[in-house]
Symmetry: C2
Subunit: 731 residues, 2 copies
């Protein structure tokens, strides 16, 4: 049994940023960083919103943080008690990650006695627009207490300020802040209402963009003063009467009362865990880390929408521009496909609905078809800059090619759609535009193919593969294979067409010359070059010329660093002309297409590339872990599994890329941990239309139990060291 709780005892200012990620709560509509009520900008508090963005000047476009309706602090006998300025006598924070409830308990000494603040809060899983907090005060001595609580409109932004105006008001005892964004004049509204178990004299104060209620109380020693806050968050994208709804939600929730709202919230979480909890017997630490990981995926699942995806740093802030990367399809999708296919569909619908953006991007570069955004925001707008890294030596921007050369992104989208088709057995996504996505992505790769004039071998030149340290390479094995996969999928989709709705059939037939495409695709399928394992070495070259690069050990390479934040890639990075790679590349390909290679080739490449991999991306460890499982090396997979599962627990992920802050949660790593446990160790996969297991449990795992959906039906999976059982659950 695990206790579903993490905590940190004592106050360490160095941990403020990391804890903001580690103790995050969220409900898919919004995420609340694990920061304290009294924190202001400098401590990076955020109520981060999904799917709404703003840009100021030339700086990066990024998602919005809402005005902070949780803002609260106390003064006692005219002294203010706020972290991190006023060092506490005692302090702890905790997160119940079964139910997404964050608490803080802090006491300070004041005039010879202790005063204590306890608080808990959550983002309602039952009502996406609602945040609720209980805030309590106790003192060992009598004194004059002031509780300052309200809305802090002075939000933390990386490239802000995003609100040109912040309208503050109080009406019918509801405090309200409306921020009006710079780019599109969108509105973000936060309403707040309070309830207390004590009487007070209230003053309403506005200080800049802060709207604060000051509650004055003559506090008695030993008495607990409880404040309940009901906070609603809406934006103008939530429909016409968002303002009214925001007010009503606060009133209604207050009427229901804290306990009732809390119970409904917990009930939704319990429902989620009833399917998604993974039991690991014999290794509580792994079970904790794994379920803590999937907790984060639950917090950011866009259940409130039909068509929305997940940002690379979830809802933990504005880093990575709140943009959607290949992370979603390649690393997070399986968790939802296995435990909540409706969410998987929502994620993929986002790609279908941004097809126009992808076609526009392709056109911009002079290509046919659909070139999906490397960093996708609304409408498929590519937020990726041509200058994504700052040179630490000159302070200049460095031209990077993530946006224009990382063409494997389109294949990832196709991979997600086909995986949805295979695991759900459902063609709804194909019918709802998926088939066009597949054909446009296939046409994109077809258009990019080049060949030597005198050879019938089709190649892809000048790309960046998953290993971003090596830019502008030819015939990256992963990219070429994924392009082929896209072509294969297009052929499959054309052949599936007769099974789809007739209207869809005729629409697609009208739009595309399918007979001709089929001929072209089959030709590509025969001639597209996929680098083969070396006849003697068994090693697949990551790209043309990789073999000729400098052979150097990772530690020796680290010894060449001149500046701790210098970029390892680009044209002159320390890794660029060596064999050291950032993350799984050939290994990712082998993991996806393991059935096409001998066990020997899988093992040899794992052993060749692993010591040459920095694992500088949180996407790397799980691919190595899963391939290790396929090579029957669970003990080699295990530390890599733990690395994925604890990336947000440990807070050891990279915080900086060049001079850019990139901290936040790592949902791809969380998804990778889930995949490693369920698809790696338990070996769950489908073969010929059946769900099967090929388990290789770590030696101290006596049993793994979980539930997974397959073809629309929930299955119980039970794996021990010598048995694997998959059985349908009859509801």
């Amino acid at each position: 049994m695990i206790n579903w709780r993490i905590e940190e005892i004592g106050f360490d200012p160095e941990q403020i940023t990391t804890n903001g990620n580690k103790f995050l709560v969220g409900n898919g509509y919004l995420g609340i960083r694990g920061t304290l009520q009294e924190y202001e900008k400098t401590e990076f508090p955020a109520i981060n919103l999904a799917g709404i963005y703003d840009q100021v000047g030339d700086a990066w476009r990024e998602p919005l943080n809402a005005p902070n309706g949780l803002y609260t602090y106390v003064t006692f006998n005219d002294k203010q008690f706020c972290l991190p300025m006023d060092m506490p006598a005692d302090h702890s924070i905790s997160l119940n990650y079964r139910h997404g409830i964050f608490t803080r308990d802090t006491s300070w000494y004041c005039d010879g006695g202790a005063i204590t603040v306890n608080a808990e809060r959550f983002a309602s899983m039952d009502e996406k627009h609602l945040i609720v907090m209980k805030y309590s005060f106790q003192s060992e001595i009598d004194g004059e207490l002031q509780i300052h609580t309200g809305i802090d409109g002075e939000v933390w932004d990386i490239n802000g300020p995003h609100y040109d105006e912040m309208l503050l008001s109080v009406e019918n005892n509801i405090a309200k802040a409306i921020g009006i964004t710079h780019e599109s004049k969108d509105q973000v509204i936060v309403c707040e209402s309070i309830h207390t178990n004590f009487t007070y004299v209230e003053q309403i104060i506005t200080e800049g963009r802060k709207l604060i209620r000051c509650l004055n109380i003559s506090a008695k020693a030993g008495k607990t003063y409880q404040l309940y806050k009901y906070i609603s968050v809406y934006t103008s994208k939530d429909g016409m009467d968002f303002d009214l709804q925001a007010c009503n939600l606060v009133s209604n929730s207050k009427y229901l009362g804290y306990l009732e709202v809390r119970n409904k919230h917990i009930a939704v979480w319990e429902e989620k865990w009833s399917v998604s909890e993974v039991f690991i017997e014999g290794d509580d630490a792994s079970m904790e880390a794994l379920n803590y990981s999937t907790y984060h995926l639950h917090c950011i699942a866009p259940r409130h929408a039909d068509s929305l995806s997940i940002a690379a740093r979830g809802l933990s802030g504005q880093t990575y521009k709140g943009a959607v990367f290949w992370d979603t399809e390649m690393f997070m999708l399986d968790f939802f496909l296995f435990t909540e296919p409706a969410v998987a569909k929502t994620l993929l619908k986002y790609r279908i609905d941004t097809l126009e953006g992808a076609k526009k991007k392709a056109k911009h570069y002079g290509y046919e078809g659909a070139f999906y955004a490397w960093e996708s925001q609304e409408g498929g707008y590519d937020a990726c800059s041509d200058y994504n890294v700052t040179d630490v030596f000159t302070g200049r921007q460095m031209r990077t090619y993530f946006k224009d050369k990382q063409i494997h992104i389109s294949a990832a989208v196709v991979y997600g759609i086909m995986r949805y088709v295979d695991y759900t057995g459902n063609y709804d996504l194909l019918t709802e535009g998926g088939i066009e996505v597949i054909l446009e992505c296939a046409n994109f790769y077809y258009d990019l193919l080049v060949k030597k004039v005198h050879l019938e071998r089709y190649e892809l030149h000048d790309v960046i593969g998953p290993d971003e340290y090596h830019e502008r390479v030819n015939n990256n094995a992963y990219t070429n294979r994924m392009a082929k996969y896209t072509i294969e999928s297009a052929i499959r989709a054309i052949k599936l067409l007769p099974k789809l709705d007739e209207n869809v059939q005729s629409k697609v037939r009208e739009q595309y010359k399918l007979d001709m495409l089929l001929i072209l695709y089959q030709d590509v399928n025969s001639n597209l070059y996929i680098p083969k394992p070396g006849s003697e070495t068994g090693i697949i070259e990551q790209f043309d010329g990789y073999e000729k690069l400098e052979e150097v050990g990772l530690e020796e390479l680290r010894g060449r660093i001149l500046h701790e934040k210098e970029y390892w890639g680009g044209a002159y990075g320390i890794a660029s002309h060596t064999k050291i790679i950032k993350q799984a590349d050939v290994v990712t390909m082998l993991n996806l297409f393991s059935g096409e290679y001998s066990d020997e080739v899988l093992l040899k490449n794992w052993e060749y590339y692993e010591p040459r991999t920095e694992h500088g991306s949180s996407l790397s460890a799980c691919m190595y872990a899963m391939l290790a499982c396929k090579c029957n090396m669970p003990e080699k997979a295990f530390p890599l599994f733990l690395k994925s599962a604890t990336s947000d627990l440990s807070g050891h992920g990279k915080q900086w890329a060049g001079l850019i802050y990139i901290g936040g949660t790592h949902p791809a790593s969380s998804g990778g941990a889930y995949m490693t446990a369920v698809e790696g160790f338990a070996g769950i996969h489908h073969e010929n239309g059946k769900l099967v297991a090929r388990p290789v449990l770590p030696k101290n795992w006596s049993r793994l139990r979980c539930k997974v959906y397959y073809q629309g039906e929930l299955h119980q999976v039970e794996i021990t060291q010598d048995q694997a059982k998959i059985s349908k659950i009859n509801n």
Copy 2:
């Protein structure tokens, strides 16, 4: 009339390096920097040798400097008088560039009177291994004079020391130094003998690698003490008995005497000028600068060899590794073709004889055919490094692509050969291996061609054009057109084959499937993509995507410089992502193929690219100048002509590329000045087998007179503002 003399009066230590280039003398076998007799390493003296190289460790391979047999200084009354340490009372140096004679005149004050040193020296044009010097001393007071003279074996090297051993000896009054090289144990021998008009007591001293005669004289006021030195230089590459020859040459020359040796030397120069002198009436400065430029070409012409080329910095030192670049074929060749076709042949034979090296280089990169060295040393060895520039900010080496991507070099070789054929009317070069060179270069380009799978348009990707600031571009207009030129030349060569010697015919037919090649080449000729002038703008895009680069003024760009020696190109250089280019690129193409474009297109592109060109290479100005002439803008051409013609006179050429010293003479610029005068202003070119003129003289040039060879016959050219006359000279 011009006086064929340049001088510098007064002593400026800052000018030592520049003067080393500006006052150079040479005879093709060796070049002697314009440095003073007493200079040591720190002042960069050099007797630089043609075509012999050495490498020490990982540093660049570079040509050898011979032990300095000119080394001489005086002491008077026990005081030493050497520049730059002992500031002189008077000082001047001069160069008679009609006859390649360098003089120095220096006086110092000593014990109340002046002492004076005068010296002149030359590298014999009549005997390539011979250097001769006359050194005179006078004093206003009596005193004890010591003339120290001998051989300084402590030679200046950039990446040396190249001599593992330096053997010093004196035998039969001949001083001798033999340096044994590191890499190949080659020997460089310098012999020296002296003659004086005074008696002396001699001591022989060796100090380290210096072998010095110390001549002790009780000097009388007013008397002139004259020392004559005869110095021979040979290497072990000069035949078996090079040692004996070196001794004999010194003895024989001494026997002939200074005046006789000097007269024979002058006679050869006069013979050269009798053909190559260009008369410009109305503008002495231009005439001086132009003939000074061609003086430098004479100094480095490899008349002593059958197959040897010219280094990019001539014989002025070890910069640019003493390597042969495209400079020879594209910028220097025409001067020799027009005035001394035998030298042109020698230059091109070097390329024929290094075909194997070019094939080896192609093979190394996995290509067919011949990929000539970007920086060619003996055997066609490519001395260019993969890391050619040092990052001034990090001190790290930067990966550059000059060697592997500047594929236009092979076309330059073909261009040179075909130009030789056209101007001489002689097929000897084709017979002697030129035809194989052309076919192998054509095969090289054929192998490099890529196409989109679905388009019949052949392209060249991932290249560097003449403008090196933009690396790894697709469809560089110059490169594509030159590749097409190569293919056209191959077709022409195949069709010429029946006119050649039958043995050659059968050898070529045996080696190549000519019928098949002809079909392939004709296909390439039809489909190779040459970027066209924009339909509205008339501008030819330098490469795919150039139009999208940042538009910025040259001065604004200079304002972004953070370090005076930073490299402007590479992946992140200040010019790399802007439209600013290093040197003529599209303009070079238009100059070579002007007949294929309308006058309007020529003009529009000149006007578009000129303000965007840094002219950061000495190869740039003349291409703009020549195209300006074709656009009938002699006044725009004129300052660019002067820039080319004075590049060594002014010493304003770039001295540094990153942290690498690149100073030296600029023979390509000299050749460019000649081309501008004769082919630009005088408009000399051939049309349908006839030599014709289309002159556009600058307004202050009343007359231009020169002689040029065409089809084996010497022609007199006489151009005035309103007349052009070309007539055969009957010998």
